[in-house]
Amino acid sequence: MTKLNPDQINVILATDCGSTTTKAILIQKIDGQYRQTFRGEAPTTVEQPVADVTVGVVNAATEVGELAGRRLVDESGKIIRPAKPASDGQPPEGCDIYISTSSAGGGLQMLVTGVVREMTAASAKRAALGAGAIVMDTIASNDRRKPHEQIQRIRELRPDMILMAGGTDGGTVEHVVQIAELIAPAKPQPRFGSGYRMPVIYAGNKEAAKYVDETFDESVELTVVENIRPVLERENLGPARDQIHDVFLEHVMAHAPGYDKLIDWTDAPIMPTPGAVGDILQEIAKARGINVVGVDIGGATTDMFSVFDGPDGEPVFNRTVSANLGMSYSISNVCAEAGMPSVLRWVHFDMDERELRNRVKNKMIRPTTIPQTLEALVFEQAVSREALRLAYIQHREFATTLKGVQQQRTVGDTFAQQKSGQSIVDNMKLDLMVASGGVLSHAPRMEQTASMLIDAFEPEGITELAKDSIFMMPHLGVLASVHPQAALEVFEKDCLIYLGTCVAAKGRSKPGKRCFTYEITGSTLNERGEMSFGEVRLFPLGLGETARIVVEPARGFDLGNGPGKRVEREVRGGTVGLILDARGRPLIPPEDRAECRRTVKEWSESLKLYEG
């Protein structure tokens, strides 16, 4: 891979090799600004009979090239570099850099271990998830399983690699080696073939490293990196995360069909798709100085990303994967976990539960079908609210301050004691939510997307809502590693479609009681009025427009400056507009089914969810 001068990069080709499709985008410098110009896709070709990922890449690149009028692939089926302008009647050709992400073959699957579940094991899990992995299980001394059950579990799994943490530097050796003694006799088999040894990354107490090494035989390829938790008060996820990426490329990818070629083609290391999404969200949070939540809801799983200020004011990134919360393969599990009454509270008409249960199972066994009727669409969107809500609960529980940290307190802290291990995800501090995934991206009306986000995540205060136009975040995540400026420009201009802003009051009261008063002033929108508890209202504020809003909450309601305190902010418009939400936080639809139907119907009418 050659290091290119960012100033000389004018044409960028990026692909994301997913399990079913390979998506290619072209980014070009136009009038001094980077813009995403064309996109194409083709079936991913990692399965038989083709079994070569580059075939799908070439097909997707060829489609982009045809649309762009630019030859991107030469006669020998390779991507042309560098870019050349049109000359002698020949069209322009090539790109300056080619980059790619991959989640084909089920992505990167890992087993992580630590000594204490809430401390070193949690840090190991954070490192693995942050690197873009699916964590199949977390083994810890205190995970409430007996040692032989833990060994049995390790035997059953076929991870791509194992990340071992445990012990602070200079801390326990014995407990760390005990975990190694669970892995060694289990003799875990790598997922792709028996042609290579199981990669184990050790990122625990450095003094235990040599004993861990002695515990394993030749069936394991052990690499040792810096301790993930050198002291309880600090995490050091970087070295483990980098090593995961290296092992991913050297072992996992190199054993997947055609990836040896693809690795040669790319100008930056191939990244696991969710890892790249995390990177671009961190870039945007850093560049704008904001807190961000991103979600990607798929058929089988839901990925959740967040960047929030940690206790020391530094931004902290977290990612979780809710393995069985999704809209097709896992739809039945969402209904089972949430319970059918929880799903039905978002539906404003009567449905027969027996019939619904059969429909859910039929969607599970035929996952590619789409809702034909409005009734089916409303039900699927109700399921999505519950899937997102459950995934967000899991995310908030995981994204905490470090557990096990001793805190020094003064007398002044007596009445304001904060426990360690509290969630850093604070909806009141959330500035931007980014949505992606079929049910959110392909909703017939963007009002529906905004409504699903608000109902599931319950943002508080003032929060911008956006969706990823064509799931471009993975491509931009890798691009950020090569050319951050280009990645950010495309992210703002072409990747995000702003839906608008949600202004929501935290607190609860009786329906009809005053929640807050508002005054909106802008070039196209000038309104003032009062919101009663239980109401939600939509105001038109288009893409690119802004307005100034002044909100005076009633006693007991908070919009960001504390209960009853006035808030004044500039708000951004979008394809949906400005939503004032006085339904309260937490958001609880009425328990009585008939009343719930009436209320939800009013909400959907206010937000124009199902109008023609």
Binding site: E47, H148, E181, R357, K361, K363, T369, I370, Q372, P444
Partner: protein, 378 residues
């Protein structure tokens, strides 16, 4: 003529079936290329390493981990039985010695001076792989398994629970639209693969288990009954390891739905033949559907001219193709494609999608998304 690709389930009276039968870890292959095998013949065998039991002797005997190796009476590689003393402390002046008697049998795999932990490996677990299809071994993968090929009648179901099962085909319903009620089960169906028609209630499945039926197949079932039979709400369609006493396969889907007539007639025509079935279903990457495999015997081959034919219903949608609608509001309706408009159409849900027109058996013409049909028939 407009066409489109759509997936479908395979239902065919004659095809060359290829079964890949492999061990979970390396072992011995017991047959050779060219051998004739019956469905229940064992073709490969191996032994999984036994369960490993860690015993923390440092804790048990109140020793430091470093002292454990010096107190061992049994060493790495030694065989131990339940009650055998593994280690004895030196005591104080030769008295008050503590000892630990093993609670498990096996072989000592390791003794750690860092943790004071001893790993005892239990007896190996034998694993056998059967041929599944009555046919011929066409390939041997040394140490891994074999590929068996056979001429069979083949039916793919849409969903199943339970693993591999064997038995003769016995018809319980006289018509593909008849509900498979429990009174249709008879005592002589013990060990059989019993074929129903439309929905089978949970009561039928429970009675089939009591009767000792090997496998039960019908058009549909209610999700509530599935939950009742399993004892839990199935969240993700990855099945095959359930142990409920028989294998259950539905061919069409959940709810009130009749078995496709072609499927019913094919199974009825093979009544009395030995079948191999597998309920294992996996609906993720590498889709796996339940199967009913019925060998075609030599007489059948002669009567139909010898060469086996293979038809796969996944394929091209064109005007005239027989399809089944697989999504509400018309779930289960069967008809022929009457039109394939090329322009996307706005659906009742408000979404835009490519659609097709289906001429139903009732004479009605329905417009549905292309994603919501599957091809039936060869």
């Amino acid at each position: 003529m407009a066409t489109a690709y759509t997936p479908g389930l395979q239902v065919t009276d004659r095809m060359r079936y290829r079964a890949r039968r492999v061990l979970p870890i390396a072992g011995d292959v017991l047959v050779s290329v060219g051998d004739s095998v019956a469905a229940q013949d064992v073709v490969a065998r191996t032994e999984l390493p036994g369960d490993a039991t860690p015993i923390n002797l440092a804790n048990q005997l109140s020793l430091t981990p470093a002292d454990v190796p010096g107190c061992m009476l049994k060493y790495e590689g030694d065989r131990v039985e339940v009650g055998d003393v593994l280690a004895r402390t030196k005591g104080i002046f030769g008295m008050f010695k503590g000892e630990y008697a093993s609670k498990v049998a096996g072989v000592i795999e390791s003794v750690s001076h860092v943790t004071g932990q001893v790993i005892v490996r239990g007896a190996s677990i034998p694993v056998e792989v059967r041929a599944f299809a009555t046919g011929e071994v066409v390939e041997v993968m040394p140490g891994e398994g074999v590929i068996v090929e056979a001429d069979v009648s083949f039916v793919q179901g849409i969903f199943g629970i339970g693993g591999e099962a064997f038995g003769p085909i016995v018809m319980a319903c006289h018509d593909h639209t008849q509900e498979f009620t429990s009174d249709l089960l008879r005592d002589d169906m013990r060990g059989a693969v019993v074929i129903g028609g439309a929905r089978m209630p949970g009561e039928t499945i429970r009675k089939a288990i009591d009767t000792g039926v090997s496998a039960i197949v019908s058009g549909g079932m209610d999700d509530a009954d599935l939950k009742g039979v399993l004892g839990y709400d199935l969240g993700v369609a990855i099945t095959g390891t359930e142990r409920i006493g028989l294998t259950v396969i539905i061919t069409e889907g959940f709810g009130e739905i009749a078995m496709a007539q072609q499927t019913f007639e094919l199974l009825a025509s093979r009544a009395g033949s030995e079948a191999a079935v597998n309920g294992a279903t996996q609906i993720r990457a590498g889709v796996l559907r339940p199967e009913i495999v019925i060998p075609v015997n030599a007489d059948d081959k002669a009567s139909s001219g010898g060469a086996a034919t293979s038809t796969h219903v996944a394929g091209v949608l064109e005007v005239g193709t027989s399809v089944r609608i697989i999504r509400d509001p018309y779930f289960g309706v069967i008809g022929n494609v009457a039109g394939l408009p090329s322009e996307p159409t706005v659906l009742g849900s408000g979404s835009k999608a490519r659609v097709l027109e289906v001429a139903c058996e009732s004479g009605e013409k329905l417009t549905v998304p292309r994603a919501n049909v599957e091809i039936i028939g060869g």
